[in-house]
């Protein structure tokens, strides 16, 4: 499961999801965006893990994922994409 998007006015983001038993077993976010501090990428990826795929595909799934990603991001700065962009892309990847 994979989706890629060039954010308008921003950077390229790509999400790859490994599913297992209807849930996200592993998620990987790649691209040419910036994130300060960089280690926050681990928290962002972990925030997607364990998510129920059926639920993520529902219309409300996107805002729920955006909220999870925002919490994981905390005070770190994501440049060239937003948590909403990642949430939209995540839904696309699992749909």
């Amino acid at each position: 499961m994979r989706a890629e998007e060039k954010v308008k006015g921003g950077k390229l983001i790509c999400i790859e999801v490994v599913p297992k038993d209807g849930k996200v077993a592993k998620a990987r976010i790649t691209g040419d965006f910036f994130l300060h501090p960089e280690d926050t990428i681990d928290s962002l990826e972990r925030s997607l893990e364990g998510v129920d795929l059926e639920r993520a595909r529902l219309p409300g799934g996107e805002s729920e994922m955006a909220a999870r990603l925002k919490t994981a991001l905390g005070s770190s700065q994501l440049i060239g994409a937003s948590p909403e962009d990642l949430a939209r892309l995540f839904r696309k990847a699992v749909s």
Partner: protein
């Protein structure tokens, strides 16, 4: 405050990235703010911290051409560093020396590049997030990280572009091509020598002027400690598969 300027030198990709990191460590311990100029020998590809190696780079073709590949500590995109085709810089200092706002700090450092190019009669402008363009074409790419209170920004200024080699080693995603609304990304790149007849040496002199303008500075080399630490980081990090192929 006195800046240390490290004169242009050529190293392989692994040592170049290790030197930048070693300088970051010494700045964190109170070392002088530093501007360093360098080249890549052999020609190399550097990829952004978050990029997938396999998706961005034709690894086999790089091996055939003798092009090294290294992952940077900074985000951003994949760059082909032609041995003779560009000049790379790094700016390493306490982050308080620049605006907290990251785009504003890119704008400030990239301003040194646009000033340098203006000295050569080339009109360029900063294009957020991290590019410098002449017209609509990119002439310089830049990337920044801030860790432990230290700001590192490095970037390249293209002098002469071998676009065919550049785009034979870099894979360009369909999404990016679609976004640019053109069939080929080759048309989106330019270089100093495409703008004017200017040697690489003249470009370097202009960069030295642009980067040091208004600053108290001294031309100095790396300390023995930094050099030793850089050699250690080459082995520990930049030469390892765990680092370069981590994504």
């Amino acid at each position: 405050m006195k800046w240390r300027i490290i004169d242009y030198s050529e190293n392989d990709a692994y040592l170049n990235m290790a030197i930048d990191e070693a300088i970051c460590e010494s700045v964190a311990k109170g070392g002088s703010p530093t501007i360093r100029f360098y080249g890549w020998k052999p020609s190399s590809v550097s990829i952004g911290y978050f990029q997938s190696l396999e998706r961005e780079v034709d690894v086999r073709h790089c091996a055939d051409l003798g092009v090294d590949i290294v992952r940077r500590r900074t985000g951003g995109g994949a760059v082909y560093h032609d041995h003779q085709g560009e000049i790379t810089y790094s700016v390493i200092c306490r982050e308080e020396l620049f605006p907290k706002d990251i785009i504003a700090s890119y704008r400030e450092i990239c301003g040194w590049i646009t000033d340098s190019l203006a000295l050569l009669g080339i009109k360029s402008e900063f294009r957020p997030i991290n590019d410098i363009v002449v017209g609509e074409k990119k002439i310089s790419g830049n990337a920044q990280t801030r860790r432990g209170g230290v700001l590192l920004q490095h970037g390249t200024i293209l002098h002469s572009v071998d676009v065919d080699t550049m785009f034979s080693v870099l894979k360009v995603s369909d999404e990016k091509i679609k976004d640019k609304m053109i069939a080929t990304v080759k048309e989106r790149v330019t270089s100093v020598s495409q703008q004017k007849v200017i040697s690489r040496e003249e470009l370097y002199e202009a960069l030295l002027s642009g980067f040091t303008k208004g600053k108290d500075f001294a031309l100095e080399g790396l300390t023995d400690g930094e050099r030793g630490r850089a050699l250690e980081l080459v082995q520990k990090r930049y030469l390892t598969k765990e680092w370069n192929a981590m994504r």
